[in-house]
Amino acid sequence: MRLSVAAAISHGRVHRRLGLNPRSRLDLLRNLVTALVRHERIEAPWARADEMRGYAERLIEYAKLGDTDERAMRMANFWLTEKDLIHKLFKVLAPRFQPHPGSYTRLLQIPNRDNLDRAKMAVIELKGNPFPPLITPRRDTDKTLLNQLLKGYRQDMQQAAAP
């Protein structure tokens, strides 16, 4: 009977522990969200970028509710420390993401940082940004067995239809 429990079991807790305390964790994520809204593509440690992704997407969903909404304005006021970005959020980003129902960000891993800590880094960007596209890994869907068989079947059908 194993009496010692592994220390890494979180039992359903979803928030990571960053910074010194919960207040500092929110401040860290707030700075990252402000930077993302300003520059639309940032590099950060992977854990922080992953935490920040959820908050950024919910902020955009709040912004979609509109400028006049009291709660949306208070949220934007708290989360964006640079106040000129509130205007950008409501006037530029909200209309850009209005047709999309879901994910507004893209998170991709980068080679580790060059410092002594060799931290796992990631780049997080808002979709539809003006920069050249990132190199996303693409799986070649033409070479899978099912797709090859379907291709062969389609060719056979065409040959049988037009001899």
């Binding site: 359903g12 979803v14 928030h15 919960p22 207040r23 929110l26 959820g54 908050y55 919910r58 902020l59 709040y62 208070r74 949220m75 708290f78 989360w79």
Partner: protein, 247 residues
């Protein structure tokens, strides 16, 4: 014919037009989905909640569970093999509604012969034979656990109370009662902002109230990931439940 005090014949007053209250429309506008139908946030398979909901609806078809909130005064009759009439009736104020799915519970509190009694009943327990709502009133909080540390007069309710008759199915009235407490120590420090209690009349000195605000976490209301938006889930479940219950 009638003459008014002036001595002239009174002008013909037509009878007032009858006000037609469309009961059907009002009842449809007001929907109440019991909180135990809403599944909690987590990684469990929705199939589990679907099966539970089917069982809950099955039970509701046989036995009527009325709409009630925290703060209502209910009378519950359970089947008890050791009681005189094989049935046991308890009257009390609902202080908490907990649990989700078939294990949903509610706690009724009453003070009987100077002894505070709290009984936790399960909504879908087959031993329960009747639930009657005696008095409808919502309170300012969702959780009335502080009644344990309040003066006993706020928890005493007459066991043979008659149900208060309410005609309109419009709004549940909110009772803005501010409860007075016994002297400290309490079972929990109710003045702290984490409990967010609005229904107590705090008679503590200002210094204590200011000290309690030290535990205030103002950033918690802006933490977006902690919010659980249930509106869409509620819509779906409401449609499902109301369709099943109409059959």
């Amino acid at each position: 014919c009638r003459t008014s005090s002036d001595g002239e014949p009174a002008k013909f007053q037509p009878p007032p037009k009858p006000v037609i209250i469309d009961r059907q429309k009002q009842r449809e506008e007001r929907r109440f989905l019991s909180p135990e139908f809403i599944p909690p946030r987590g990684r469990t398979d929705p199939l589990k909640f679907y099966i539970e909901r089917k069982d809950m609806i099955q039970r509701r078809k046989v036995f009527n569970i009325p709409e009630f909130y925290v703060g209502h005064i209910l009378a519950v009759t359970t089947a008890d093999p050791y009681a005189n009439e094989k049935a046991n009736r308890f009257v009390g104020i609902c202080i908490q509604r907990g649990g989700k799915g078939l294990g949903a519970t509610f706690i009724l509190r009453n003070v009987i012969e100077d002894q505070g009694v709290e009984i936790c009943y399960e909504l879908y327990n087959p031993r329960i034979q009747a639930i009657e709502v005696l008095k409808l009133e919502k309170r300012l909080d969702d959780n009335l656990m502080y009644l344990r540390d309040a003066l006993p007069e706020y928890s005493t309710f007459d066991v043979n109370m008659k149900p208060v008759f309410r005609l309109d199915h419009e709004e549940v009235p909110v009772n803005k009662l501010q409860v007075r407490m016994k002297p400290k120590p309490w079972s929990k420090r109710w003045e702290r902002p984490k409990y967010n209690i609005k229904g107590i009349k705090f008679e503590l000195p200002e210094k204590k109230m200011k000290e309690a605000q030290k535990w205030n976490k103002p950033w918690l209301e802006f933490d977006m990931m902690r919010e659980y938006d249930t509106s869409k889930i509620e819509e779906k479940i409401w449609k499902e439940v109301s369709e099943e219950l109409k059959k």
